[in-house]
């Protein structure tokens, strides 16, 4: 049975590294659900959160293959660990006069913000787990969703220093 697996990957902040990771997933026929990359507190290191649709048997192979990339410093499969998982979505909906209050109320239930409004539309910004974003989009279905963009998941294990991901030698490992 395939299910989403979440990997936190630290890579060297060098040109072409994203291409190496993406190329690996293509070549090994791994199905990327979402891939996020951004900076960390260390300018030499970038951090990726990759969600892959795969089986429990295949997940360790993905981890091992990521490690084989010379620019990959650290890989952690956080799927079964206590983890803070967040994504951000922008949702543009049709907002005729009669619907506006309902949309605003719905957004507030989800602790989402209205970040843009025009005579025809409203744009909602929501942050949360993928499940929360899914539910808001579903609830807004009635209001006629025009456009959705999601960042994909960012993940960080819960707790303090233990299990934190750093460049070796930069503390924490």
């Amino acid at each position: 049975m395939t299910a989403p697996h979440t990997f936190v990957v630290l890579v060297e902040n060098k040109p072409g590294v994203l291409n190496r990771v993406a190329s690996l997933f293509r070549r090994r026929n791994y199905n990327i659900h979402s891939l996020n990359v951004g900076t960390t507190q260390d300018p030499r290191v970038s951090r990726m959160t990759i969600v892959v649709q795969t089986t429990p048997e295949k997940a360790p192979l993905i981890e091992a293959n990521l490690y084989k990339l010379v620019n990959v410093i650290d890989v952690q499969d956080v799927t079964d660990r206590p983890t803070v998982r967040r994504e951000l979505a922008l949702i543009k909906v049709r907002a005729p006069q009669g619907m506006r209050t309902e949309i605003i109320n719905l957004a507030s239930v989800f602790r989402a913000n209205i970040v843009d409004a025009t005579p025809e539309t409203m744009t909602i910004e929501v942050t949360g787990t993928p499940e929360k974003v899914d539910s808001l989009i579903e609830m807004l279905g009635a209001a006629d969703v025009v456009e959705v963009v999601r960042t994909g998941v960012l993940a960080m294990t819960r707790g303090t220093i233990e299990g934190a991901r750093h460049l070796p030698g930069a503390g924490g490992r």
Partner: protein, 584 residues
């Protein structure tokens, strides 16, 4: 004050510091500064091949036969077509984990991405077929990149690394600073197995009644031949080998079984299928050795000793993984391994072995002296002639390759050079060039088919120019033999695009100034082999062999390993080689 010099000089200074004595290559526009600087480094031997693919295979073979000395092969080419011509060789080295550093010229950094003359995105093209690659745009980065490239190529699971060198980086001057250490925070191949896994492996071995070791090329790459032998002898474990693992234990050793897999002998595959424990050493359960996966070694628990964690559970689920350098791990493990004897198991394997001998039609044909000369028989005779002389054998890919694996009884490691994983036709001659450059004191025999030979035959000129001691053997059946065999067996003998109208190979050799002979009869074989051995420098022997001979035994790709097409009980009728349509 560090010395100031051009990037081109820095490259040679760096290569020399990495112990490079030989470079195989082909010049061109974007690598000209490097070739100009080469003239100032006479201590480096440059071998000019006739095609970049030849340079790549030669460097690969050079690295394989000198693995015991820790040598890394180096091949060099220009940008664009020079680099793309290397790619078949790079992929070959990658599949067979061969430590080679490839250096390609690239257009100046300011022209990158402009589709300049002979510009190809070489780091992009080679990304999936290298262990790692570098694009160098600044001269000052060259020493560090070379240091890292060689370190990555030779350590862990070895493999090819490519350095794409922009022309401005070759021309610009900078301070030459040789790095004292390699800083690769993300590159940490495992070295030593963990204790819990060792304990579990020890327990599984103690419980085994029918153990078999599967020795792969990792044994040779790690130099673990003494440890393999010690393990086999201490716990009385028969040793089957992969194609690239041949030579890891001499076939004269009583525990040595020989090659496993699609064209492995019956008794070897039977041993694997009936084993209750497989100990896989530096091999990767390739589809050519497992047959149908669901039916592979169904009674066996499995211990996998491997340096590459991504090979664990990839094809075959294993019970214990010992991750690390093979030699190190076996040294950790050996003191814990209990002495054992498995006489019943050895007797069973011996019975299968006797059964195998009954089927050896090549031996029968030779005893009887009847029927046409056969390809396998030629190999057998080369083996008998050279057995005591520590020769190196380089092959192409196909029937002749499998006959070589079956009938040449490799007594030593690093003496068979063959393309296993990629199965690259035409590998033989350029590989022979690389092996002969590496070991000028040894005889190098290139065994090729008529099809594969023609793919890279231009390297005959290289062999002549370099005065290499290469004995070229062509088993000429006027067919692409292995493809024809598959068409015979699986496509109802519908022969599609396999018939070859060949040139006169003896005249072709003659045009190169290479002495050559054609052999059509059994009684001519010994004289031809003696003639070849008398020659200094390259020599070519063409053996006319039957067009429709097959490699047996054979496991088809969809069958379990023990369901083999055996050799026929009686010698099959095979047509003579001098049939209508063949060249003179």
């Amino acid at each position: 004050m560090p010395p100031r010099m051009t990037g081109a000089r820095m490259l040679w200074e760096s290569l020399i510091r990495e112990g490079v004595e030989v470079v195989f290559g082909y010049p061109g526009g974007s690598i000209m500064p490097v070739y100009d600087a080469l003239l100032d480094y006479p201590q480096v031997r440059h071998v000019l091949t006739r095609h970049e693919q030849g340079a790549a295979h030669a460097a690969d073979a050079y690295a394989r036969v000198l693995r015991d000395q820790g040598k890394v092969g180096v091949a060099m080419a220009t940008s664009g077509p020079g680099a793309t011509n290397l790619t078949t060789g790079i992929a070959t080295a990658f599949m067979d984990s061969s430590p080679v550093v490839f250096i390609t010229g690239q257009v100046s950094a300011e022209y990158l991405g402009t589709d300049a003359f002979q510009e190809t995105d070489v780091t992009g093209v080679t990304l999936p077929i290298t262990k790692h690659n570098f694009l160098v745009t600044r001269a000052e980065d060259i020493p560090r990149v070379v240091r890292e490239a060689f370190y990555i190529a030779r350590t862990g699971r070895p493999g090819p690394v490519l350095i794409d060198l922009c022309k401005n980086a070759q021309n610009d001057e900078a301070d030459f600073v040789w790095p004292t250490e390699v800083q690769l925070p993300g590159y940490r191949p495992p070295t030593r197995a963990d204790e819990a896994a060792l304990a579990e492996a020890t327990r599984l071995l103690a419980e085994a009644q029918r153990p078999v070791i599967l020795a792969g090329q990792g044994v040779l790459m790690s130099g673990a031949m003494p440890e393999l032998r010690a393990l086999a002898e201490k716990a009385d474990i028969p040793v089957a080998m992969t194609l690239l693992g041949l030579g890891s234990l001499p076939l004269t050793h009583p525990l040595a079984l020989g090659m496993m897999g699609m064209h492995g002998e019956y008794f070897v595959n039977m041993a694997i299928q009936h084993a209750d424990l497989l100990i896989a050493l530096g091999m990767r359960f390739d589809d050519r050795v497992t047959g149908r996966l669901e039916a592979y070694a169904p009674h066996a628990r499995k211990i996998h000793v491997e340096v590459d964690p991504a090979e664990i559970n990839k094809n075959v689920p294993v019970d214990v993984a010992l991750l690390g350098d093979l030699k190190t791990v076996l040294r950790q493990w050996l003191p814990r391994v209990a002495e054992a004897q498995h006489p019943a198991w050895r007797a069973q394997i011996q019975a299968w072995r006797e059964d195998t001998r009954q089927h050896d039609v090549v031996q029968k044909a030779r005893r009887n002296g009847r029927g046409p000369l056969r390809g396998a028989e030629v190999i057998q005779r080369i083996w008998e002639t050279t057995a005591n002389d520590d020769v190196i054998i380089a092959t192409g890919v196909g029937q002749h390759q499998m006959w070589t694996a079956q009938y040449y009884r490799f007594p030593q490691p690093y003496r068979l050079v063959t393309s296993g994983g990629l199965g690259t036709m035409g590998f033989g001659l350029p590989a022979g060039v690389g092996a002969a450059v590496a070991h000028p004191d040894k005889e190098v025999w290139v065994i090729e088919g008529d099809g594969g030979f023609q793919m890279t035959q231009a390297e005959m000129a290289t062999a002549v120019q370099e005065g290499l001691n290469i004995k070229i053997v062509i088993l000429n059946n006027n067919y692409l033999g292995m493809v024809r065999q598959w068409q015979e067996l699986f496509y109802e003998r519908r022969y599609s695009a396999v018939l070859l109208h060949n040139p006169d190979f003896v005249k072709l050799a003659d045009a190169h100034g290479i002495p050559a002979r054609r052999v059509t009869e059994r009684r001519e074989v010994d004289a031809a082999l003696a003639f070849a051995r008398e020659q200094q420098g390259p020599v070519l022997l063409e053996f006319r062999v039957p067009p429709e001979d097959n490699v047996f035994p054979m496991v088809t790709t969809s069958d379990p390993l023990h369901e083999m097409i055996r050799r026929p009980e009686e010698e099959p009728h095979v047509e003579r080689a001098d049939w209508a349509g063949a060249a003179p």
